[in-house]
Symmetry: C7
Subunit: 100 residues, 7 copies
């Protein structure tokens, strides 16, 4: 994989979606639904410094680089680097971490 | 039941919906209505660390693993693991705990 | 009446709607209107621990078990236990307590 | 007038609308408009304990029992007690007090 | 002018709209536009005690009785006292004070 | 230019839009777009005392009288004084100051 | 490039979009989608002093002049200076910094 040179701002995370084959191996299936906002799987590639709270401090991120996650694709911010597709999400769009 | 390897973030909970047969045994019936957002029953499989408050601390979760709950299925985040369907909800979508 | 085994979360209350006959006896009539959100009468069967404030504490509930109340049925969360219909409401949907 | 036995919650007030005849005597006319939300006159019959602030305390009510008020009928929560119609409002729907 | 006996609540103000003739004299013209929310001129007749802040105190009002103001008529709360039309506004609907 | 006798409230500013000729001289062009909310240029004629914060203090204004600004005309509050058109805006509608 | 004489207010940033040719060189492609809000690349030309927090202080900006960024063009505030197009954005519309 090419070196990721995107540094997310705030509580954003950059996620690389997982291909169908990889998904099948994990045993976790995210069923196709009529709903346009359905959960997907991906790998966290980079995380921002965290959301700034009202007191000026940042809330620490719950996900970290390398985490395998289930997320909901609310805002389709797609970026393509060297022919690989990435998504830039808010951490709140990440539903759960898949533990290994 | 397969070991759950999903760790919810924030105030999210993972719930396994209860089948019609199990529902009948509990004596609790959630009537079918025209409303698309009707309450359902389920078992809590995993809970997140709690919602972060403005002061940076987390509010403790009210539900815990193993709780039988009534919830409203607002945001249909369905995940299927080894052919079992799970839902990822916000704790605020959980209406009540069914005491044994 | 069957023992209620539902424990509401947060600032939710479980209410048993009052039948037409009982309503007439109380002298309080809630007129039928074209509005779909009209007030109803009921008896509080169970109350949650209270809404969590920003400082982490819970605001005490204003209603208690046994209160006869007037409420507005915004979110139709109906549950049926042993053929009796209950509603799960937010305390803010309760407009007033009927004093005896 | 029958004894009012409704105790409003939070910052709610119970108001008895004033009849056309009484309105004319006061010299204040609330013109009929095409707007469905037009101000009305009424007498405050009961007031709640006040809205709970973020610090857990209650903001004192600005209106009190017996006040003649101008209010806007946003949320038509009508209750009929012994053939008399009452309205349950939020204090914020009360625009002004008519001083005697 | 008849004595105003309406006491506004919170951050509300009572304004007497200025007639076309008076407007022309002031040199300020508020052009007719297709927008339904266009600014108008008026005289402040009464002011409320101020909006309550989260700490329980009231923010002092910026306008005072006698001020000539430009306001936007968002919420058409019209009251007629002895054949004179008044408007009850939130202070935030007042855009500017016309200095003499 | 006639003396401006309008004193804006809160965080409002009064702006005199710049004519097409003046605009061309500045080298800054605000292209016509299909979007109805496009930026415009103007001169700040008067500023309010600043927005009141939750602690009761006012946030100081970023713009001052005489500033040449780029703003977005969200809320078309137009006032005409001695045949000159002015706009009353919230400071947040001002995007940038044009430095001389 | 002409000297930028626009000083953004609050947490706004002025961005110069990057041309198709420059984009290709960076290896980052932002795919055309049906979505009207798709990420773009640009160079930060000027930054505001930061968003004012509730305590009156300003949150420091995360981006600085010269940063190459990926942003979402929510609010199309375009300005043209000496035939060069610039965009005025809120910092929150900036998704990530492209590290060199």
């Amino acid at each position: 994989m090419a070196k990721m040179n995107l540094k997310p701002l705030g509580d954003r995370v950059i996620v690389k979606p997982i291909t169908e084959e990889e998904r099948t191996k994990s045993g976790i299936v995210l069923p196709d639904t009529a709903e346009k906002e359905r959960p997907e799987q991906g790998e966290v590639i980079a995380v921002g410094p965290g959301k700034r709270m009202e007191d000026g401090k940042r809330a620490p991120m719950e996900v970290k680089k390398g985490d395998r996650v289930v997320f909901t694709k609310y805002s389709p911010n797609e970026v393509e680097i060297d022919d690989v597709e990435y998504l830039i999400l808010k951490e709140d769009d990440v539903l759960a971490i898949i533990e290994k």
